[in-house]
């Protein structure tokens, strides 16, 4: 799927304001990402 490489290069902030590169989530283990509409 073509978009996973683009996503993997993206970095987001977590709740503690630390950077998380998405590709790191599936570098060695499978990853489940869920996009939600809003908080709460």
């Amino acid at each position: 799927m073509e978009r996973v490489e683009e996503l993997g290069a993206m970095a987001l902030r977590d709740a503690d304001d630390r950077e998380v590169r998405l590709g790191e989530l599936w570098r060695e283990r499978p990853a489940v990402l869920v996009w939600i509409r809003h908080y709460g």
Partner: protein
Amino acid sequence: MRDRYQELTAKGANLAVIAAGFPAMAKDFQQEYRLPFPVLVDTPRATYAALGLKRASRLGVTWTSLRELALLRGVLKLARHGVGAPKAQQSLLQLGGALVVAPGGAVKLVHRATETRDNVPVDALLEALR
């Protein structure tokens, strides 16, 4: 997903939830729902766009939001965290989705919601992790 977190991690998976907003909102959300996995912030919703996630119709979202009192909860959160900043970051029209990726980057599941209550079943996530 929280209630079946252990089933998902038993498959060796890293889990994360993504929403628009800012880290303080993510922290509040994580603590309120006692989420044992990372809650990530995508302020410009760039990952939503990259995955091709859709936007709902205004009418459908308005009806659903009123029904679920999401608007009221959102207003309360805005009042708590300050008015103004989230306006350009969150969109009630934005729909969600899910992605399961195998180690190395092979995509096992993509779910793009078609309406506000279209949530991917946890069983589908578990199946994709087989």
